[in-house]
Symmetry: C2
Subunit: 318 residues, 2 copies
């Protein structure tokens, strides 16, 4: 098939691009390289079935022009960092909500009807039910990031209703693995490189979180896009387990063979809008036969090994 991937130079986007190419598809990758890395597309660019467009998704005309001949859009471009909403209040609106409308509009005018979208477990805010199912009670948003993804989900579903689109929406937990370039493993590892004797931790370390390995994530996306037939298909995507931030610190320090002093900022939440407990009910995804291959602990170690082999990523993120 002829696929278009937005955020193609990002962590999940570039991993998906590589997989689509392995499976024989034609792939157009869009990225503005605001947070993506050219290095992640080195393999893809050597493949004649890959085309890279350096496009800013806020440029509606450019988005429309990029989509001719596309059969399915994997819309992964986003501001993926939930933490900085209160400091930069317009970023999530622009990069997640308005950009998604531009993608939908580009699809509509080009007659492209299928879209897979990276939403987030953050759309559940601070849930009342654990593990949290897709049909959880109508949640209250606690972050601009979550609000912007709910907005995008809503527009995608409305386009599906109005224009006969088929949509695959994935509410991810945090994703880990090769090409991971932001998040707690990144932050902790960078700190421990600079000062192995101490580790500053946001919150009280008791936050409970769930994580998923990037290849397991890509497996799920491709399985759903190939198999599901509803107009709008929404899936939680995570492992059937969670860990405390303190567990993760233990695994990371154990792997590095160090025992830093932990200094906690305190509080149940790591930042404004942080959800102290994320644990998604992924029974719907498992009912399709999908199983994650790595545990959270294995995913964290895999991530750490990637960062150890790729010091340039830490330098590039300044």
């Amino acid at each position: 098939m002829r696929a278009l991937v937005t955020g193609a130079a990002g962590f999940i986007g570039s991993t998906l691009v590589d997989r689509l190419l392995v499976e024989g598809h034609e792939v157009t990758g869009l990225d503005n390289f605001s947070t993506g890395f050219r290095q992640f597309l080195e393999g893809a660019r050597a493949n004649p079935r890959f085309r890279l467009l350096e496009t800013d998704l806020l440029d509606l005309d450019a988005v429309k022009q990029s989509m001719a001949g596309t059969e399915i859009v994997f819309h992964l471009a986003a501001n993926a960092d939930v933490r900085f909403g209160p400091e930069r209040t317009r970023v999530d609106l622009e990069q997640n909500t308005i950009v998604t409308w531009n993608v939908l509009e580009g699809m509509r005018v080009n007659g492209v009807k299928r879209i897979a979208f990276s939403s987030t477990g953050s759309v559940y805010g601070e849930p009342e039910v654990f593990p949290t199912p897709e049909k959880a009670p109508f949640p209250l948003q606690t972050s601009l990031y979550g609000a912007s993804k709910v907005a995008a989900e809503g527009m995608i579903s409305a386009y599906a209703t109005a224009f006969g689109f088929q949509a695959f929406i994935f509410r991810f937990v945090s994703i880990l693995g090769e090409r991971y370039t932001h998040g707690h493993v990144f932050d902790f590892y960078r700190q421990l490189l600079a000062h192995p004797e101490r580790l500053d931790v946001l919150g009280n370390g008791l936050q409970r979180k769930s994580y998923l390995y990037v290849q397991d994530c890509v497996n799920a996306i491709l399985l759903v896009a190939g198999k599901c037939t509803d107009a709008v298909n929404i899936f939680n995507l995570g492992t059937d387990e969670y860990c405390q931030v303190n567990d993760s610190i233990g695994w990371i320090c154990g792997h590095l063979g160090i025992d830093p002093q932990r200094r906690y900022a305190g509080g149940e939440r790591g930042w404004v809008g942080d959800s102290p407990f994320i644990f998604l009910d992924c029974a719907r995804m498992r009912s399709l036969g999908w199983r994650p291959e790595l545990t959270i602990q294995q995913g964290i170690i895999r991530t750490l090994e990637f960062l150890q082999r790729n010091a340039w990523v830490l330098e590039a993120r300044g």
Copy 2:
């Protein structure tokens, strides 16, 4: 208090402005007169406690400048017509989502902390539970209008979390009464003036809908804003009844003393994204002691009488 009302020249906005002035408050009204009417503000403009600003809410600088000294914002400006999303796909994003972000941002930079917001029962899409409570299962959006209001609700809640705002969010059924300028009573009455012998009806006439009289709506908004203390307060707002479109046609024709031939367009839905059954659980609102004073039938007749006395509204809407 010093209140700011967006959409001040609109149906609900102007009714709220008048009420706030009667209660002795200082009121700044914002409107760009794209769908509002200057006539609705004639009474208010004679009051020295009223100030009118002709402002386009897409102009962020103007919004910021309008809010100095405000204690509470009643954000009622919106594209309120759910029907035309598929023809004008950007309207809901701009007028409902982006405008709400501008309002929130204007509040933040001016230190304004309280907002009342007109959301909609359309955020429930096509619900699975009737009457539909505020905690219904996480719904699927079926209209760009509903999606844009969910987006606005989410941003408001996220601002409440991040910046200590207090929010009052109202999920309205359709509102009826004096100053009503669009909707099924308007459409039917206009048709029947032009050709009393026949009536064209969208859908099959069996759609079940709930309606609320505008003064009952304003009563609820002011009660909640004066009484509720949570950071985010969400209330369904409707009557504890519903009617079929055919019931409404019967009441309208009975009042007018005519018996037109009904021509149904057919189908369960009047338009793309129309919800065939809207019936909200308003127990939460009633628990505050609020009761609607008019039934749906009384509200429809009151609306019709307003239109009969104000032919200029029909002419102005072209």
